[in-house]
């Protein structure tokens, strides 16, 4: 029996080993300006992650794999970000610490909240509010309006809207009886989601629009009793996709750059071809950390972080990341299936789909498997809003993994 106990520790210890090795290597890499502060900060993060993994088992009766997987992804991400840009690496370190803190905060707070499945209108208002903020204060960055600057602090409301959308859908589909008295309520929900997608389209944030659509389509596919609606949804989506292609130049450009980036290599195809060069150069094992030139790829620390990873750590690491995301999504769905409470079950499905599809869209994009749309790679890309919102979503998934039926029983 003890043997089993020891073995259970092994992924955690492997993670620790990985982090310490990486830290040593990075210290050697930046030996010219190896700073005591940086070392202490990194050690601090390692400690936080180790403790979090340890504590979570004690605190939460739920799943303890998802957090472990996420910490591995985060480690790979921060190593590469730090290697590309030292300052960003340190910032990312702060974001992650903040993210982990937020994870526990949200975990304890949301768990205490009751009847959160009843707040449909609140979620609705919140979502629109976030859109209004984006339009009112938004800046254009990389061709899309999805950044809001507040006192020199840039932030993407869209990241939070994703989670609000999932709450909205969960709240609606877990109480279908309640909404039955309103005729065509499902159509209204679909209308609301499409209004979100349209707004994202106007912000030129195609990636997020796609993520919204797929989350909605998945939940609708599972829970909608009016099966016609699903067909309408697919039809409408394809129709608006074609319309978008014809009407909007930015859609057309992305599509062309995908079909043949080599003839547009100087302009539209520049990003994607640079990404392909990086991945191709890496080979199976990579050039070695610090030995490649990921800095040739534009926006490499956010959208194209995967290309940098492949160049320096090899596509074996790349495949490893894909596998980690796959296990994560699998766990998420497993959580959903074992969850008895419908609201939390839908939340779990929504969040797992969010991580799954978002990582697929951006990974497929940088590989030129599908047209490229700007999205961050969850937990790996640099960025405060991305990291924080991802941790919030993770925290909710953690709650979903617990047995909510028995909790209600004991609470009563």
């Amino acid at each position: 029996m003890f043997k089993g106990e020891i073995r259970k520790q092994s992924p955690k210890n492997l993670l620790l080993l990985f982090q310490i090795l990486a830290l040593l290597l990075l210290l050697a890499y930046e030996q010219m300006h190896a700073d005591k502060m940086i070392f202490i900060m990194a050690m601090g993060l390692i400690l936080i992650i180790y403790l979090s993994n340890y504590l979570l088992i004690k605190i939460s009766s739920g799943d303890n794999y998802i957090f472990l997987i996420v910490t591995m992804l985060i480690t790979i991400g921060i190593i590469v970000i730090y290697r590309i840009d030292e300052k960003l690496g340190i910032k990312q370190l702060t974001w992650i610490s903040l993210g982990i803190f937020l994870f526990f905060l949200v975990y304890f707070m949301v768990k205490r909240l009751k009847k959160i499945d009843d707040w449909l209108y609140l979620y609705l208002v919140l979502a629109y509010l976030l859109f209004i903020i984006t339009f009112a204060f938004g800046d254009r960055k990389f061709g899309a309006i999805n950044w809001v600057s507040f006192r020199g602090f840039a932030f993407q409301p869209g990241e939070i809207t994703k989670i609000v959308l999932i709450f909205l859908l969960a709240s609606y589909y877990s109480n279908t009886e309640k909404w039955r008295h309103i005729k065509y309520s499902s159509y209204y929900i679909m209308g609301v989601v499409y209004s979100f997608i349209a707004l994202l389209f106007l912000q030129k944030d195609l990636g997020t629009a796609l993520v919204f659509y797929i989350i909605f389509a998945s939940i609708q596919f599972i829970y909608e009793e009016d099966r016609k609606l699903i067909l309408y949804n697919i039809g409408l989506f394809l129709g608006s996709g074609v319309l978008g292609y014809v009407l909007f130049d930015h859609v057309k450009i992305r599509f062309q750059a995908w079909l043949n980036p080599w003839i547009y290599i100087e302009r539209q195809g520049y990003q994607i071809t640079q990404s392909l060069f990086a991945i191709a150069e890496g080979g199976f094992f990579g050039k070695g950390l610090g030995m490649g030139h990921p800095d040739f790829v534009p926006v490499v620390y956010t959208d194209f972080i995967f290309s940098a990873i492949c160049e320096e750590m090899g596509i074996f690491t790349g495949i490893g990341i894909v596998m980690l995301f796959m296990i994560f999504v699998y766990r998420g769905f497993k959580i959903a299936i074992s969850q008895e409470n419908r609201f939390y079950r839908i939340l779990a499905i929504g969040i797992s789909t969010l991580f799954g599809i978002q990582s697929f869209i951006i990974l497929g994009g940088v590989l030129k498997m599908i047209p490229l749309t700007g999205l961050t790679l969850p937990f790996i890309s640099y960025g405060g809003s991305s990291i924080l919102s991802s941790f919030i979503a993770l925290s909710i998934l953690q709650i979903c993994s617990e047995d909510m039926t028995s909790r209600e029983d004991t609470d009563e």
């Binding site: 071809t273 060069f277 191709a280 894909v322 499905i349 797992s352 697929f360």
Partner: protein
């Protein structure tokens, strides 16, 4: 299992499939596409090496420097000594336009970059690579210059080689372009309708016309259909289609030798059906039709698609080098060499040696027999016929005093309306030292009039000047 769970599992399966497709795609990308993408000239990483490694020189067989690099500020500059003379062999290496020719296909040797294995990586760290390797070519600068001056203004290609060793002495393709100042006239070059960027010697596919008859003649020897006589009346009708001899001239009673000497179309058309497309096809494939000739630069495959020929007319046309037959000039030089070399087809060599900066030979190209095109007896029979072609037939313009020359002319009709003029041959016939293949694209004249004199000149020049 209830519906809800079933649907959840469907969504999960779809998501997992997308991830698996990612893994499959990324592996596919790395295995099949990565190496081509890496070498795209827009990949800035390629040029990083160039800044730290002195690119090797390219020399001819006598040590004349054709291309070299020198330090200029922080990086190296590539210089080409002979303007357009080596535009297709050496090629170019420009940051803006990428690479071509040997600069492209021997890039790793020139930069001394080895395959990325762990051992090589460690070796590279311990002893950083700073200088590339030199290439020593089989080209003779004088012969190359001579060949270039012969074809000047004419469009086409000349290949001069040693028939027994496979060494290429000269390989000219015209029009060409000046590689030493690409920056000034790149637009002009790349948009030129005559496509000077193409190396016609290995990338040009031409209708061979009568020079192909040597293949048909070998096939005739092979299945003894040559023994019967034939009476030429100047035309031959196959399935209602009339083939004519040059200017409709009748040759009267004629045998294989006479037919080859006088380049009698009707004889070969008549015999081709007797010989059969399979025998001709088999012989042509021994001389590397329908397959790639192994060479230091990529060669287009010559075509004799006998398996696709369904009518007698197609076979008849092919037997005299018209219709569906297409060849590269290098391939024709190889056929001439094969006949000169008692039927043995040698591998053509362009890069003789790869030498390190301090003179150590890393790789040496050895003589390699690729195939036995025809038995020695048959080869000598054809050789005698080709000697007669130059002595008294269509190739008299290639005659050299005191040297027996073997050759075959060709005048190939093509879609442009102006004939290609061909000549293939070798000399001296009893101890071959040089083989040539000349094509003058859309020249309008005959091979005997236009190509044979050039062949004579270059063969004589080579015999007089070549040092082994």
């Amino acid at each position: 299992m209830n519906k809800e769970i079933k649907r959840i599992i469907i969504i999960l399966t779809v998501l997992c499939m997308t991830f698996i497709s990612l893994i499959v795609y990324i592996s596919y990308f790395q295995i099949f596409k990565a190496s081509a993408i890496k070498n795209n000239s827009y990949n800035k990483r390629l040029w990083i090496n160039e800044q730290t490694i002195l690119r090797g020189s390219i020399l001819d067989r006598n040590g004349n420097v054709l291309a070299y690099s020198e330090k200029e500020g922080d990086s190296y500059k590539r210089n080409y000594n002979y303007g357009s003379l080596y535009s297709h062999i050496v090629g170019y290496s420009y940051r803006e336009y990428g690479k071509s020719g040997l600069e492209l296909y021997y890039n790793n040797s020139l930069l001394n970059i080895s395959d990325s294995t762990p051992i090589n990586e460690i070796k590279n760290i311990v002893i950083p690579n700073t200088t590339g390797n030199n290439l020593v070519l089989t080209i003779d600068h004088n012969i190359q210059s001579r060949a270039r001056s012969l074809i000047d203004g004419k469009k086409g290609s000349i290949v001069v080689m040693n028939p027994t060793t496979g060494e290429i002495y000269a390989m000219v393709s015209y029009p060409d372009f000046n590689i030493s100042n690409l920056n000034e006239n790149w637009k002009e070059i790349s948009e030129d309708m005559e496509s000077p960027l193409i190396n016609r010697a290995i990338q040009g596919l031409y209708a061979p016309g009568s020079v192909f008859k040597v293949i048909t003649a070998m096939a005739a020897l092979e299945n003894s259909s040559y023994e019967t006589q034939y009476n030429c009346i100047g035309s031959e009708k196959i399935e209602g289609y009339v083939f004519k001899d040059y200017e409709g001239k009748a040759h009267g009673p004629i045998d294989l030798k006479g037919a080859l000497v006088k380049s009698c179309n009707t004889y070969f058309i008549n015999k081709s059906l007797e010989i059969g497309k399979d025998t001709i096809g088999k012989i042509s494939e021994r001389f590397f039709f329908n397959s790639r000739i192994p060479f230091d630069l990529p060669v287009k495959s010559s075509q004799f698609p006998y398996k696709e020929m369904t009518t007698d007319v197609e076979v008849a046309a092919a037997s005299i080098g018209q219709g569906k037959v297409l060849v590269t000039p290098l391939n024709m030089a190889l056929i001439a060499s094969g006949i000169a070399n008692e039927g043995e087809v040698v591998k053509p060599i362009l890069v003789k040696e790869i030498v390190t900066k301090d003179g150590k030979v890393l790789k040496q190209s050895d003589i390699e027999i690729l195939s036995q095109g025809i038995n020695p007896l048959g080869a000598n029979t054809i050789k005698d016929m080709m000697v007669e072609v130059v002595k008294s037939g269509t190739g008299v313009n290639a005659k050299i005093k005191n040297v027996t020359v073997a050759g075959k002319t060709g005048t190939a009709e093509n879609s442009s309306g102006k004939n290609h003029a061909w000549f293939i041959g070798f000399a001296p016939a009893d101890n071959p030292k040089v083989a040539v293949s000349i094509v003058l694209e859309e020249d309008g004249s005959t091979g005997g009039k236009a190509a044979a004199p050039l062949a004579r000149d270059i063969m004589l020049y080579t015999i007089e000047n070549i040092k082994d």
